[in-house]
């Protein structure tokens, strides 16, 4: 195991103590544990996967299987602002593709990518459920509706400006 590059990761596993105490021995809690872990670390570092496996009595393969099955889980860190661009049916019909193009051009990244400065990660998602405001994106907890390519770029610019001011 020690030759494996994953072993080099050193996350602070004590952050998971509360979660483990509550769920480690409750059967069927694997997804819940991973959700909490992702909230803590921002993603699922590989050593956390091993740790969760050990504590819950699952094989690392099983935990990895669950982590890769669900779209919510990330195995890589994301930028400071996660852009979730909706590509559901209503957004598709109302031009989500042109929004994606504009964002990709503006940030010079592709779907799933993170900007060099680590500020933005773009992720397209199936449906945010705000169909009547389509096309829609969410950045963090904030939802932006009735987008146009220009409006999307403007929103990104505003966030950038705010970050620069800080």
């Amino acid at each position: 195991m020690s030759e494996c590059c994953c072993a080099n990761k050193t996350s602070d596993l004590s952050l998971l103590d509360d979660v483990m105490e509550k769920y480690a021995s409750v059967e069927g809690s694997l997804i819940t544990i991973l959700q909490h872990a992702q909230e803590i670390y921002g993603y699922l570092p590989i050593d956390v996967i091993y740790y969760v496996a050990g504590r819950t009595g699952n094989s690392p393969a099983k935990v990895m299987g669950v982590a890769t099955f669900y779209t919510q889980f990330r195995l890589q860190p994301v930028g400071k602002h996660l852009i979730m661009l909706c590509k559901g049916t209503a957004c598709h019909v109302n031009g989500a593709n042109s929004i994606e193009k504009a964002i990709c051009e503006e940030l010079k990244i592709k779907d799933g990518g993170t900007t060099e400065d680590g500020l933005f990660t773009l992720k397209t998602v199936a449906c945010l459920g705000c169909c009547s405001l389509s096309p829609v994106m969410m950045i963090g907890e904030e939802t932006y509706g009735s987008l146009t390519p220009a409006k999307a770029v403007e929103i990104l610019g505003d966030i950038r400006a705010k970050e620069a001011a800080q």
Binding site: L34, C131, T143
Partner: protein, 582 residues
């Protein structure tokens, strides 16, 4: 004193309702009251502020912005609303609600979803009281049978039958599960119910739990609905405190508790056996049925799974009687159905109507027709499992059988309207892209079949379609329908089959003539500068990322078709409408 109620569903908040509320609150010097409600369903008018005087709705203000807060505050203080007349809802927009019959959504947008007292005031928790104190579980199931209530998640299976099977099944404990994994892109009915009237869901589930003899209830909610989870958590805590959940409910000896399980994002988890696997903390992969969940479900115990909207009808049925519910609708489909009307329609939002109305009633009557009065082309129903219904079938009645006959399905209620600018082949490719990504990979027909169909469709929209592609798609569709393990795979061919059935000519245009009639498939388009209209301003040439536009200043320019990447920058830049797409 007047009271301002701000609609704070997810749509409203996305449109800025939170800021409007904060702005009104900041100006409140005790001369008016404030409150929140859930989603009224008129998403096209958000943010909405209802002004009440006592119990009476004085005026509904629409498309309110923070900037209007000052005027609204002044109007409420003076008791004279004429100062904000510009925000009054128009009669034709108000018609959106007047044409509906609301049962599942009966409290949505009217009561405060964060207050159990608001629900109780509207007669809430009386249905469960009646059930627990005067009815046997068998009588409850009989009443649901009389109502004709069928599963609103899409398949339309009779609810009483499921409940009865679970009641009869041997094994303890039994579980009652709510499927709130609303993964169908284009649908948000379940989210609205949970966000706007969570106690109605709890009460409906309690009735079901009593009927099947369940000791625990679980709501499986998609993680993408954070507000729904927060509101439901709060509602559960309130219900527990009031003794509607937990041990010995209302002193009747019946005990049942409820918890939420947040999903982690997988469309296939809408399938009940996959949902159960996910609840157990595993990969959400479906399995063969039988055994059915009624006999061997969650933790291998008898389990009953229904959709949010199904449960949302139950308390009403118990209060008003099954016959009142079955009095609405058609021979095969009873009661009402909620639709999420979106796409190129003028008035989009949540629509609840009795079964038996036509698609035309919904899209043109309630929805007000197509934006910019363009031509209606098709309506997509049932999402990735459903199909596209063309204009010629607009008078199809909303009924499980009638919709299935078109090749589409009732589905969970997503209704996405498309006009002439939507390419049906590209639309189909979009759905297959979705099902390819969401296929769990367990069975070959779905895992590989959807991928192959997606490849063929991608080829067609990029101008590389071949003679025989349509027939090959049809062959694949039938094989996947027959061979796939679960509902996801079995229904994945529906978008392909319906678009080939109704829009075969569009496929042929793409394949034979390499043209996209809707002008959506960029690789089949040609941008051309109209010589007479071009002023030679050079704006387009400067915007072109590949420098394929050339010409002298003040003289007509030309586009080098061999270099053009069809990005559309030039057309967006031109101020003289001198560039056309063909």
């Amino acid at each position: 004193m007047m009271k301002a109620i701000v609609g704070e569903g997810s749509c409203g908040l996305a449109a800025g309702a939170g800021k409007v509320y904060a702005a009104l609150e900041a100006r409140n010097t005790g001369k008016y009251e404030m409150g929140v409600t859930g989603c009224i369903g008129m998403c096209f008018l958000e943010p909405i502020v209802d002004i009440y005087e006592g119990k009476e709705l004085k005026q509904r203000l629409v498309r309110v912005t923070e900037g209007d807060a000052e005027d609204i505050a002044a109007a409420m203080e003076s008791g004279d609303l004429s100062g904000v007349e510009r925000l009054f809802i128009q009669d034709e927009d108000a018609d959106f609600l007047n044409q509906q019959t609301r049962i599942a959504l009966r409290h949505c947008g009217l009561i405060d979803p964060t207050s159990i007292d608001a629900y109780i005031e509207e007669g809430g928790y009386e249905a469960i009281r009646k059930v627990l104190t005067t009815m046997t579980p068998e009588e409850v199931i009989e009443e649901i049978k009389i109502s004709g209530l069928a599963g609103r998640g899409g398949a339309g299976f009779p609810t009483w039958f499921k409940w009865n099977a679970c009641r009869q099944a041997a094994g303890e404990p039994k579980y009652l599960i709510c499927n709130a994994d609303e993964g169908d892109p284009g649908a948000f009915m379940d989210r609205a119910v949970i966000e706007s009237d969570p106690h109605n869901l709890i009460e409906g589930m309690l009735v079901g739990a009593y009927a099947i003899g369940a000791a625990e209830m679980v709501v499986y909610v998609r993680a993408e609905y954070p507000l729904a989870i927060v509101r439901l958590e709060k509602a559960i805590a309130q219900a527990r405190e009031k003794g509607f959940l937990g041990e010995n409910i209302m002193g009747t000896g019946f005990s049942c508790d409820m918890r939420i399980k947040a999903g982690a994002g997988a469309f296939v988890c809408g399938e009940e056996t996959a949902l159960i696997a996910s609840l157990e903390g595993k990969r959400g992969m479906p399995r063969l049925k039988p055994p059915f969940p009624a006999n061997s479900g969650y933790n291998l115990k008898p389990s009953n799974i229904n959709n949010v909207e199904t449960y949302a009808n139950v308390a009403w049925i118990m209060t008003n009687g099954g016959a009142a519910f079955s009095a609405m609708g058609t021979e095969n489909s009873k009661g009402t159905k909620v639709f999420a009307l979106t796409g190129k329609v003028k008035r989009g939002g949540l629509v609840e109507i009795p079964m038996g109305k036509t698609l035309r009633d919904v899209i043109f009557g309630i929805g007000g027709g197509i934006r910019e009065d363009k031509e209606f082309k098709a309506v997509q129903m049932g999402g990735p499992s459903g199909g596209c219904i063309p204009a010629s079938l607009l008078d199809t009645v909303i009924d499980y059988k009638a919709l299935a006959a078109t090749g589409a399905i009732m589905g969970s209620g997503g209704m996405v309207v498309m006009d002439s600018s939507t390419c049906m082949v590209e639309m189909t490719r979009f759905f297959l892209n979705f099902t390819t990504n969401e296929s769990c990979g367990k069975c070959v027909p779905c895992r590989l079949g959807t991928k192959r169909m997606h490849e063929i469709l991608t080829r067609i929209v990029s101008g590389e379609g071949k003679e025989g592609d349509i027939e090959l798609l049809e062959e694949l569709c039938l094989a996947i329908k027959d061979g796939a393990l679960c509902g996801l795979g079995q229904t994945a061919p529906n978008p392909v089959l319906t678009t080939i059935r109704y829009f075969r000519d569009e496929y042929e245009e793409h394949i034979k003539n390499k043209k996209c009639p809707a002008k959506e498939c960029t690789e089949l388009l040609q941008y051309r500068i109209v010589e007479d209209a071009c002023k030679g301003c050079t704006a387009c040439a400067r915007k072109c990322p590949v420098q394929c536009i050339s010409g002298e200043a003040k003289k007509p320019h030309v586009i080098d078709q061999s270099k053009c990447i069809k990005c559309g920058n030039c057309i967006a830049t031109c101020r003289f409408d001198a560039i056309v797409v063909e």
